[in-house]
């Protein structure tokens, strides 16, 4: 009964809005979620819940796979460090409101020590501990050796390594060029560009949320919801034929899901206007092309002119930084937008030009 409900809620159509809402609540009430009391209770509640998950045979089949052990470690670490940083930020923000300095700026925390031996010894022990951990892991969990590669056969489901499952999930919604080359490239380029775009010195060397609201929100949304959540979806909710399965659902090879997808051009020309698709490629995709240009070109300008927060960003950053930031940000947001459009309207591609190997 409860398991059936969780299976239904796990469907990304529902669980993605839940994840986004949960993220928003976490940010909005970060002082509550970052309190020690909440951390204790979350830990106490989560232990029996996790045990109950493990007791389910279908869920246990997924989680016990040697490949998926890192997922468990990742989830525990992500939960802990998110809570930890919120906790530190909440404490400091309260001190700053009272006119005190952050904890990291107290005299006893500003004491300077030599990097040799203090830092180097710590690093040495970290290296030894990591190596020992990896050796023991390699002994306990054997790498699965399968039959020789066969170019005319693929395992079902064919899953990427766990850390790439977020990317594989992106590929379901985008053209290979976009999801495999352009978007990951922009993720890397964007992460490299952060120190050049965001030159605000606030928060250097101490935890704070109030002084770095937008930076923290946009980074954590991209990390927690668009990366970690998608990895969870890829690991636990994708089964044979890359169909959705709830975490407690049996991976039935013959589960039938209707997923008929159509392109925006078919929506407009055939369903909307009731005339056939034009022969000319550009004319056929003109609506999608215009929409894409509007999304990439007009929204940043409009935000800078018409909204309060946009004007403030534009003034603080200058035009070049602002437009680079907005380009990266709306590219990131194109992922959830495209996912929601697929789920709500079965929209395949906004611009579909397979003749030119170009689909957006």
């Amino acid at each position: 009964m409860l398991k059936a409900l969780i299976n239904q809620l796990a469907d990304p159509i529902i669980s993605f809005p839940i994840a986004t809402l949960a993220f928003w609540w976490m940010i909005k009430y970060y002082r509550f979620f970052g309190s020690k009391k909440f951390g204790m209770w979350a830990l106490i509640v989560s232990i029996p819940v996790v045990a109950w998950f493990f007791a389910d045979p279908n869920f246990y089949l997924i989680i016990k796979t040697p490949d998926n052990v890192p997922i468990g470690i990742l989830l525990i670490l992500v939960c802990f460090f998110t809570w930890f940083s919120l906790h530190k930020a909440a404490v400091n923000d309260e001190r700053i409101e009272q006119g005190l300095v952050p904890i990291e700026a107290l005299p006893e925390n500003r004491e300077k020590v030599w990097s040799w031996p203090n830092l180097v010894y710590t690093e040495l022990f970290a290296i030894i501990a990591c190596t020992a951990f990896l050796v023991i892991w390699a002994i306990i969990f054997k790498a699965p050796l399968e039959e020789p590669a066969n170019p005319t056969w693929a395992p079902n489901p064919a899953k990427a390594p766990w850390y790439f499952l977020g990317l594989q999930e992106m590929l379901v919604y985008f053209d290979p060029w976009m999801a495999g080359v352009v978007l990951p490239g922009l993720v890397v380029a964007g992460l490299i560009a952060i120190p050049y775009i965001d030159t605000n010195p606030k928060g250097n060397g101490y935890f704070t949320f109030m002084e770095r609201k937008w930076a923290i929100i946009s980074f954590l949304y991209g990390w927690l919801v668009l990366w970690v959540y998608l990895i969870i979806v890829g690991v636990f909710f994708r089964g044979p034929n890359w169909t959705f399965y709830g975490p407690f659902e049996y991976w039935d090879l013959h589960k039938v899901v209707a997923e008929y997808n159509i392109n925006l051009s078919e929506f407009i020309w055939i369903k909307g206007l009731g005339i056939g698709m034009p022969k000319n490629l550009i004319l056929r995709e003109i609506f999608g092309i215009l929409l894409t240009f509007a999304y990439v070109g007009i929204i940043p300008v409009w935000v800078a002119k018409a909204t309060k927060i946009g004007r403030k960003f534009y003034e603080d950053m200058g035009s070049i930084r602002y437009y680079i930031f907005m380009f990266l940000f709306i590219t990131m947001m194109s992922l959830p937008i495209k996912m929601v459009l697929r789920w709500l309207f079965s929209l395949k591609y906004i611009v579909a030009l397979p003749e030119w190997e170009l689909n957006l």
Partner: protein
Amino acid sequence: MSDSKNSLNRREFFSYLTVGWVMFSAALAGLGSLAFRFSYPNVNFDPEMEFLAGTPGDYAAGVDERYKNAFGVWMVKAEGRLVALSNICTHLGCIPTWLPSELKFKCPCHGSGYYMSGVNFEGPAPRPLERYRISLQPDGKIKVDKTKVFRAEKGEWDNPDAFLTV
């Protein structure tokens, strides 16, 4: 030239140097060619690009999987046409599975789905599966040539080389 016994004169030095240099270059070239050869596989498991696929009478209507594992080709007979369908997903090149009960090809990597004809209808695949050149030999055998592909979005499926009328 009093101490010519234990030292080389100019001519001798250059002749030794030439011989040594030639041998060094030859050894280097031999090593290089061995290394170059090493970069190619000893055994090639890739399917053959051309094969004979029986006679038209061998096929019942529907999807025939007997050449899929050896050559990566589905023989599909429908609407009076026999075609050789590629088994490479047009999204990212995985190998879809034929699901006889749902009458569709379904890719295990990202969930692209194709009708029996090879036309994509679900998932991210941007275009239909490719078809290979298929022809009837004078002895009545079918020859499939994978070096020539026909793509639906370019309007090539009606090319007379892309199907056999059965």
